[in-house]
């Protein structure tokens, strides 16, 4: 047997081993991702649609249907988490349900974790409706009255007693209904929710189902689609670029950080502030705007101590500890970082550093209790798995090429 013939008869155990290594190595190593991710149009349109929902205008909720089981969880959970985080970041009321019964446990797990990260409260910001049999009847019935199909939530509390359900009666009060499924359940939402009730619907599916969804995208029956783990990663990055542009994303590897937050009250004189601002390239215009007529103001120090703190941020922490205390905002965002938000951001994105570029007048109560040593144990699921997905696809392409080279070379020689 010559080389070309051997190339065509690689033992399947070797193929399995190579693929296993290709998947495991990128998961263990921390892989640097491009600074910007160009999301596919189908992913971007879901993001844009949720952005267009105005939580302060006519009250509109987002309904998520967790229609998958553990088999497809690795592909669909990153999508579900990314959408929930986006909804929480925009303060949009969230309703979560399931058509197959396994979805309720997955939904409960994700909601509990992310609500804690974002400081959201059950019954006020979100609700888990649970599961009811007969998917067609459930999807159709909710078009009339949601509480007719789900009189109580997952924990047997009547929906009428939950503040989150205030003003939300049926599909008319939804900004989006989105289904996450590894099967063809997405069809029910097109046929029985969008068509009769005109509610905007979107879907998150496994990568193998992508081709089946395009007719519905082309006809605008779906506002968009998240396809496979890749879309989960894209969506995570879209949310990050929109809401937390200066936060650095960490993948697996170092997923446990200590976040220490201290609050102080301090009367500073303006020279101290200006000198410190110059030292760290802080925005002076913003700084001057925050000084009151006496040249004094209260500030809060939000201090992050990370295991891999860079020299820059360590220096900044030391300087701030010695000198001043500030409320910090993220570049380009109207987001005052207080204790809760900083916790949420740190937990959410696994930050390794924050760029401080603005100062705002202190709004928090300086007497707030000190919060220390909060353990972080979250990471961006899709972003972290993306390199492994890419590596496995490359390996498959490589083996197909090798198989073809071997086949045609051997045939020519014969």
């Amino acid at each position: 047997m010559n080389f070309w013939e051997k190339l065509g008869k690689i033992d399947r155990r070797i193929i399995y081993m190579v693929l296993a290594v290709a998947v495991i190595v990128p998961l263990i190593l921390t892989v640097k991702l491009p600074s910007k991710v160009r999301a596919m149009p189908r992913t971007k349109s879901v993001f844009d649609h949720i952005e267009s929902i105005d939580p302060n205008g006519q009250r509109k909720a987002i309904l998520l249907s967790v229609d998958f089981d553990p088999q497809t969880e690795p592909e669909l959970k990153p999508q579900l988490e990314a959408i929930i985080r986006h909804a929480f970041a925009r303060n949009i009321p969230l309703l979560v349900m399931a058509l197959p019964i396994q979805g309720t446990d997955i939904g409960l797990d994700v909601l509990t974790r992310l609500a804690e990260e974002h400081n959201k409260e059950y019954g006020i910001d979100y609700v888990l409706l649970g599961w009811k049999p007969s998917p067609v009847a459930v999807v159709l019935g909710m078009g009339n009255f949601i509480d007719q199909v789900f009189p109580t939530d997952y924990f047997d509390t009547p929906l009428s007693e939950l503040p989150v359900m205030e003003g939300i009666r049926n599909y008319d009060n939804l900004g989006l209904a989105m289904d996450f499924t590894g099967s063809s359940l997405y069809g029910y939402w097109v046929y029985y929710a969008h068509t009769p009730y005109d509610v905007p619907v979107a879907t998150g599916v496994t990568a193998v189902s992508v081709a089946d969804i395009y007719p519905f995208l082309g006809s605008k029956q779906f506002v968009g689609m998240l396809a496979g783990m890749k879309a989960g990663a894209e969506y995570e990055r879209l949310a990050k670029d929109r809401y937390y542009p200066n936060v650095v994303v960490k993948c697996l590897g170092k997923d446990s950080y200590n976040v220490t937050i201290e609050k102080q009250s301090y009367d500073a004189d303006s020279n101290d502030i200006v000198s410190l601002a110059r030292r760290f390239d802080l925005n002076l215009d913003e700084l001057y705007n925050t000084l009151d007529s006496q040249g004094k103001f209260e500030k809060t120090l939000v201090l992050l101590e990370f295991l891999d703190t860079t020299t820059y941020s360590r220096d900044l922490i030391v300087r701030l500890k010695e000198k001043q205390a500030y409320t910090i905002t993220l570049e380009g965002q109207k987001l005052t970082v207080n204790k809760d938000k900083m916790l949420a951001i740190a937990n959410f994105y696994g930050v390794s550093k924050l760029k401080v570029n603005k100062l705002l007048k202190k709004e928090d109560n300086p007497q707030d209790p000190k919060v220390t040593d909060v353990e972080r144990s979250i990471f961006l699921r899709g972003t972290q798995a993306l390199p492994a997905l890419s590596a496995s696809l490359l390996i498959i392409i490589l083996f197909v090429i090798l198989g073809n080279i071997s086949y045609f070379t051997t045939r020519r020689k014969k």
């Binding site: 007969s134 992508v210 390996i395 083996f399």
Partner: protein, 220 residues
């Protein structure tokens, strides 16, 4: 009579619910709501039938010692254990036998149900699905050959789609992959979908009119 009654119910409800869709009157809506409630109730009975079928299938396998019968007691045991734990755990005021987890008191059945699900069903399910990737890689290596024009086109399309997923940010392949999905793929899929939908309408009409009687056990 055994067949006429279900055939009559199907005919009447099939036609009435079809017409109802086009009538926005309150009476029509109320009728639809009632029908949907019936649908949910009837749907629940499917679980009883499924459970009976599951138990009968595995009991028969064990009784006749059919191939792979040794797995059947495990399947039945898992069914009984999860059902008992789940039913007791969800019962109201079920707070006895508490277990302390992370400083919180949790009823033991709730704790067991969550752990069986999270640490048995989730990894087992995920493993089964993950194994597919290995089979796909091996099968693609052995049989994905560019032997004919059609297979060459398939191979090129597959490569473009896979590469567009990997390099969507950096190469124009991303746009090419998107074009493949949104133009040729969508055209083909739309044709298939229209054909299947027309077939579905025809079958539904046959069921409503009593021509297709497979759902009541045959054509006699």
């Amino acid at each position: 009579m055994k067949r006429r009654i279900p055939l009559t119910i199907t005919l009447v409800l099939g036609i009435v619910l079809m017409i109802q869709f086009f009538i926005p009157h309150q009476f029509s809506q109320d009728f639809k709501n009632t029908a949907l409630e019936w649908l949910r109730v009837i749907g629940s009975f499917a679980f009883i039938i499924g459970l009976a079928s599951f138990v009968t299938h595995h009991a028969t396998k064990i009784r006749h010692k059919k191939e792979g019968w040794a797995y059947s007691p495990i399947a039945l045991g898992a069914l009984v254990i999860m059902a008992v734990i789940g039913i007791i755990g969800r019962a109201p005021n079920m707070s006895w036998l508490p277990v302390t987890v992370h400083g919180q008191q949790i009823p033991v059945f709730t704790y067991l149900f969550a752990n069986f699900y999270n640490y048995m069903m989730v990894p087992l399910g995920a493993t089964m699905f993950s194994v597919l990737a290995f089979y796909i890689a091996s099968a693609a290596y052995r049989s994905f050959r560019a032997k004919s024009l059609v297979s060459i086109l398939l191979l090129i399309a597959a490569f473009i789609i896979m590469l567009s997923i990997i390099f969507y940010n950096v190469l124009p392949l991303g746009d090419l992959g998107e074009w493949l999905l949104s133009v040729p793929n969508m055209a083909a899929k739309r044709g298939i979908l229209l054909g299947a939908s027309l077939g579905g309408i025809a079958t539904s009409l046959k069921i409503i009119l009593g021509i297709e009687r497979g759902y009541i056990g045959g054509t006699k």
